[in-house]
C-alpha cells in the first residue's frame, strides 16, 4: 500500500521499504542519525498516513469505548487525548492506541499493522449498540510535526494556535492554512509537537507548505528510521516489540499510562486484576551496555550462565551516544543498577538496568 505522499517521497530521494504492507521512507538522503538529531534540536516532519484512524459516533460511543479499551474515557473532557490499550479477554495487548475526544465524535488512532484487526474487533464489540465505527484512512491524511521548533512553525500556519497553550495531549479542530484540520498535541518522539489529520485531497500541497514554512526553523522531512530511534530513546513501546498479544500492560509497565482498574468494565479487566494481584514473573526494563555493542530484538539477556530475558528493542542512541535497549527480564533482575549481560552473536556483553526513558527533552525537564 502507498500513503498519499508516496510519490513525493520517491521524488525527494526517500529510501523506500516495506513496513507492515506499506511502502514507506525509512530515511531521506540526510540519513537517519541526522534526521533524529534534527527532531531533538529543531523539528522533523513525518508521514504517518499509514496509521489507522477510526471515527466513533452515535449515542453508544462511550459505551463501546468503555468496553473496548483500558482507559476510563468518561474522565476525558472534550478536547482531551489519552493513550490507551485494546486488550483481549486474557489481558493480552491487541494494540496500543490514542483516543481523542472531539465535540461530536471520538477518534481512535491505531498502529498501521493492526488496522484491519482493530477495526474488526471494535465492530464485533459494537454489535447490538447504536454506534458507528468508520475508517477515516482514505479521506484524511495524517502527519506528525515533532520537535522544539514545532510550536513556532504551527503558530502562523494555524491562525495563531499555540501548541504550548493548548497543553500536552489535547485536540482541537482548526484551519491549517485553508484546510480543515484536527490538530493534536501528541507524538511518538519524546519531543513537543503535534499530529495532524488533514483532508486527503490537500495532503501533498500541505506537506510541501509546512516544509517550506518550517525551513527557516530547521525543519526537514524524516523517515521511519528516525521515528524508531526517537521513540526508543523516549522508551515509548512499539507494537510487535515491547507489546503484543502475549504481553500484558502491567508487565510492560503501562499501568499508569493506560489502565484504569477501578471504574469501567473493559474486556480483559478480570484477567489483568489477576495479574496485578500476584508478583510479576518478568518485567520490561531499560538497559545500557557497559561493553560496546548493538543490542537487537530477540537477543538473549543473561545473568551469569542463566538466561533471564530477551531484548525487545536496542540501538546506538544518537542523542546520548550510548548503546541502550529495552527488554523483558526476570523480575529479580529488574531493579535499576542490576548487572546483566546482553548476548550479541554468542558473546555476552556487560550491561546494567537503568532508568527509563534514556532521553528526556529539555521541554519536559
Amino acid at each position: 500500500m502507498q500513503t498519499k505522499l508516496h510519490d513525493w517521497h520517491v521524488r525527494a530521494g526517500g529510501r523506500m521499504i516495506d513496513f507492515s504492507g506499506w511502502d514507506m521512507p525509512i530515511q531521506y538522503a540526510t540519513g537517519p542519525r541526522e534526521e533524529h538529531l534534527r527532531v531533538r534540536s529543531a523539528a522533523g516532519l513525518f508521514d504517518i498516513d499509514h496509521m489507522g484512524r477510526f471515527e466513533v459516533t452515535g449515542p453508544d460511543s462511550l459505551k463501546l469505548l468503555q468496553r473496548a479499551q483500558t482507559w476510563d474515557a468518561s474522565r476525558m473532557a472534550e478536547g482531551h487525548a489519552h493513550y490507551s490499550l485494546l486488550c483481549s479477554e486474557s489481558g493480552g495487548i491487541i494494540d496500543d492506541i490514542f483516543l481523542y475526544r472531539l465535540p461530536q465524535s471520538w477518534l481512535v488512532i491505531v498502529n498501521a499493522s493492526n488496522t484491519a484487526k482493530d477495526l474488526a474487533w471494535l465492530q464485533s464489540l459494537a454489535r447490538g449498540m447504536n454506534v458507528s465505527v468508520r475508517n477515516r484512512g482514505a479521506d484524511t491524511c495524517m502527519l506528525a510535526l515533532q520537535g522544539p521548533a514545532a510550536r513556532d512553525i504551527v503558530k502562523p500556519l494555524c491562525g495563531g494556535t499555540d501548541l504550548d497553550q493548548m497543553g500536552f495531549h489535547r485536540v482541537r479542530e482548526c484551519r491549517l492554512l485553508d484546510a480543515a484540520t484536527i490538530l493534536c498535541t501528541t507524538g511518538y518522539t519524546g519531543e513537543p509537537g503535534c499530529e495532524m489529520l488533514l483532508p486527503a485531497a490537500d495532503c501533498e500541497r500541505l506537506w510541501a507548505d509546512i516544509l517550506a514554512a518550517g525551513e527557516a526553523h530547521g525543519l526537514i522531512p524524516c523517515g521511519l528510521g528516525a521515528r524508531d530511534s526517537l521513540r526508543a530513546e523516549a522508551c515509548l513501546p512499539l507494537y510487535g516489540h515491547e507489546i503484543d498479544e502475549d504481553t500484558d500492560p502491567i508487565s510492560a509497565g503501562l499501568a499508569r499510562a493506560a489502565l484504569c482498574m477501578d471504574g469501567h468494565d473493559f474486556v480483559g479487566r478480570p484477567a489483568l486484576a489477576a495479574v496485578a494481584a500476584k508478583p510479576l514473573p518478568h518485567r520490561l526494563v531499560g538497559f545500557e551496555l557497559i561493553d560496546p555493542g548493538v543490542p537487537r530484538q530477540g537477543y538473549p539477556i543473561h545473568a551469569g550462565s542463566q538466561k533471564i530475558g530477551r531484548v525487545t528493542t536496542g540501538l546506538a542512541s544518537p542523542s546520548t551516544g550510548r548503546f541502550v535497549g529495552m527488554g523483558y527480564v526476570d523480575s529479580r533482575f529488574a531493579e535499576v543498577g542490576s548487572e546483566v549481560q546482553i548476548v550479541i552473536r554468542e558473546s555476552p556483553k556487560a550491561a546494567r538496568i537503568v532508568k527509563r526513558p534514556f532521553y528526556t527533552s529539555p521541554h519536559w525537564r
Binding site: 542519525r33 528510521g225 548493538v294
Partner: protein
C-alpha cells in the same frame, strides 16, 4: 546515485576493497556498501593477528538497520585495525576509502589481488545492481 570510488583499490563482489600500501593491504568497504548499510554505529574490529581467509566473514559492521558481515577480499594476517572507528564509526560512511578503512593485512598470497575487480570492472558491476 553517484558513488565514490578509489582507482587504486581492487574490489570484491561483496563490496569490500583492498589497496596495497607498502608491503601490506589496506581493507575497507566501498562507498556503495556504506550507502546501502546506512549510518554505521559500531564496528566489531578483529584483533591484531587474526587470520583472514578470502571470501570468509572476518568482522561485523553494525548500522542503524542491521548487523552485516564483512568478507575478507584477500587472505592474510591482520597487522592493525582502525582504532579511530571505536569512537567514530561514522567515518566508514564519511570516508570509506580513507579515514574509514577497517584493517591492514599482511597478504599470504599476493596473487589473490588479481582475482579482484579493478575500478572499471567494479564500476560496471555496481551499475548492474
Amino acid at each position: 546515485m553517484e558513488y565514490r570510488f578509489d582507482e587504486k583499490a581492487r574490489y570484491s563482489k561483496t563490496h569490500e576493497w583492498a589497496r596495497m600500501d607498502g608491503e601490506e593491504a589496506v581493507v575497507g568497504i566501498s562507498d556503495y556498501a556504506q550507502d546501502k548499510l546506512s549510518d554505521v554505529v559500531f564496528t566489531d574490529l578483529p584483533a591484531v593477528g587474526k587470520e583472514l581467509k578470502k571470501e570468509t566473514a572476518f568482522m561485523v559492521i553494525e548500522s542503524v538497520k542491521a548487523a552485516e558481515d564483512v568478507f575478507a577480499p584477500v587472505s592474510g594476517t591482520v597487522t592493525s585495525h582502525n582504532e579511530k572507528l571505536v569512537k567514530a564509526p561514522e567515518l566508514v560512511n564519511k570516508d570509506p576509502f580513507g579515514e574509514g578503512w577497517l584493517v591492514r593485512v599482511r597478504l599470504s598470497n599476493a596473487k589473490e589481488l588479481d582475482s579482484l575487480m579493478d575500478l572499471a570492472a567494479y564500476k560496471k558491476f555496481v551499475e548492474t545492481l
